[in-house]
Subunit: 389 residues, 2 copies
């Protein structure tokens, strides 16, 4: 959600929109009762899809405003229902509203980012996301592996070959040129990571991760926020159900995405990926049909942490929590942030309140009561601090 | 289905069992009306899941017997409901019934094999099927690729790496020793393939295949029936839905199977696959957890084509179609065949009636009216020829 500091809107109306807040699909929850529409209060946390990303954070802002009764500054809301699928339609809407709805807005706050640990953080950078579909086709319909196994080039083989060429076991992307545009790391910027709170053992235990590719907190935070990564998410069109099926899938689509960082451009990434995969596919000497589609190119984002609203947020955090915040660059992507900034020219800040172990996009998503309640106080305090700027 | 030549059973009872005949799951039919329970008559063919594999062929036998009114030999039925999932439970049942139900049976006929073209064929060999689950785990729950991309070894990367090591682009299996046990090809056996009818262009057009790995009919038939092949069927646990999701799947299971041939033993294949993948995984230097499971090991089968029931079938084909049959080794697997043969010591023959373009296990499965009706006549004639042996 974006909170736009300007004049208030009717909150009843806003609550209607809130139901639409964008969610990731829910697969394989370990607790069958935790469904998309259910909220479960257990062990000091609120469980359910969207409790942290992003229904919970939207609700915290609404609660803060309700508690304040009288607003110290004007507030406008923009509730985004398609963030998880690339914010289609939003850029056009922003453009349309730029000189009307946005004209009296001074600051834009997005409430969709995690803290690193139990201390609040202000996010001033995100990675981008270039999402690719890699389609391979060996026939016009699925085939029986008894009748056709061994006499055709199977689409799955070619797809697996190409997917295997993308990243090595140390997490390094193998696409030539992909690291060229990455901004160099200065000593001053490196220092920003040192104060950050991040508990490797807590994260390992929470997610059942045996091993990180890097050993120190600083390296880990650097790697996941200011360097690109490539993840293979899955394959559509192959056999994915439980049990066995002896099929040769006719058309399969491998899905992977690159989290790019400043100053990588999605259009350049697209060309690098397409050129590389086209070259690798030629090596395979296959007669199958390949199609590479760049379905989404969300840019990375980096802000100025000395902007007045960042100072107001720091003061508010000091007031509610009695300490300085972590200044954070996150590994994820919030596509709308760069659109906002480029279009409106306004200052934008990410002030989310969820925890690092909330399993957003995963099974059994939750938000802790502590984050939800103290986060609500933080939003109220922030509006007050803004008024005193 | 297996037709056991012995005393007849009550056909009303049999028809109840028929509903259970084993089917493959139905995915992505191009015609929404063609569902598992629906039969569509169109362009001279009967469309629907199981029309050829294996409901249609069961029904042809029942129709033949109904038409005969008086049976020239006794017939017993065994209707198999779990062939598509590895015939669990059947071996135990066969063992139990070996000295009772099977005691007065002379010949066993399985009705679950295709013709090569428009001419009937008798099948005297099948490939086996060793099915493997290759499980890889990097976390206890799915992760957000923004938060974890670049700092952990992703399970999908390791799985893709291992799957990519199984077979090359020319269809050759890369597992050491896998071809060692393959029976050598004699000139006499090679000759058996020369008379076979198989229309490469028809098959290409039907299935939208651009290119076969071999250019002649003989090579193609040899490759798909007396040499092993390996197919990667899919991945369970990764993102497989349409659209995009930026997940790092925590636990993924790659599914592949090997169609093995005489004299490859499933237990040896299992060891070769496990040893090879264990060695390859060590090369990857990953901290992830791997588990290799041999979920099914169905043996290949090869019979004596000079057995009396094969002669009766040839005569019946000559009578109904006016020509000699193709003598066929198929690429698929009918696990129960080897169980029958080894346990009962009886002669077993595969006399199916479906066409090479019926899309069994694929989308829009069908059987042509010609095959269904002439096949019904063939079964009736076969019972007569058996009686005159």
């Amino acid at each position: 959600m974006e909170t736009l500091i300007g004049k208030p809107v009717d909150s009843a109306e806003v609550k209607e929109v809130f139901r639409l807040v964008s969610l990731q699909p829910l697969l394989g929850s370990t607790n069958e009762t935790i469904l998309e529409a259910v909220l479960l209060h257990s062990h000091g946390s609120l469980y359910g899809r969207g409790t942290s990303d992003d229904k919970g954070q939207v609700l915290a802002v609404l609660n803060a405003i309700e508690a304040l009764q009288e607003l110290p500054v004007n507030v406008k809301f923009l509730l985004e229902g398609m963030e998880e699928v690339g914010s289609q339609g939003l850029p056009a809407l922003l453009e349309q509203q730029n000189t009307t709805f946005f004209s009296d807005v001074d600051y834009i706050v997005v409430t969709d980012t995690p803290w690193l640990r139990s201390k609040p953080g202000i996010t001033y950078g995100t990675r981008g996301n270039s999402y690719f579909f890699l389609e391979m086709r060996c026939a016009s319909r699925d085939l029986h592996s008894g009748g056709f196994g061994g006499i055709i080039q199977e689409a799955m083989n070619d797809l697996i070959f190409l997917l295997n060429s993308l990243v090595d076991s140390a997490g390094q992307i193998l696409i030539p040129g992909i690291y060229e545009a990455v901004a160099p790391l200065t000593e001053k910027k490196k220092k920003l990571y040192e104060g950050n709170e991040y508990d490797l053992d807590q994260i390992k235990a929470k997610y059942g991760i045996k091993h990180f590719l890097y050993t120190t907190k600083e390296e880990l935070l650097l790697r996941r926020s200011r360097y690109p990564s490539l993840s293979i998410h899955g394959i559509t069109g192959a056999f994915s159900a439980p049990g066995t099926k002896t099929v040769i899938p006719a058309k399969v689509i491998g899905k992977f995405s690159i989290r790019q960082v400043p100053n990588m451009k999605p259009s350049v990434v697209e060309k690098q990926v397409t050129d590389y995969l086209t070259k690798k596919f030629a090596e395979q000497k296959s007669s199958n049909s390949v199609k590479i589609t760049h379905v989404r190119g969300a840019k990375p984002w980096l802000s100025d942490i000395n902007n007045p609203q960042f100072l107001a947020a720091r003061k508010a955090i000091k007031r509610v929590f009695g300490k300085e915040p972590d200044m954070i660059r996150v590994g994820g992507t919030i596509p709308v942030v760069t659109y906002f900034e480029e279009l409106t020219g306004k200052s934008i800040m990410l002030l989310g309140i969820f925890g690092p172990d909330d399993a957003t996009h995963g099974q059994d998503e939750k938000i802790s009561r502590y984050n939800f309640i103290e986060g609500t106080k933080l939003y109220a305090a922030f509006l007050h601090e803004l008024a005193t700027l």
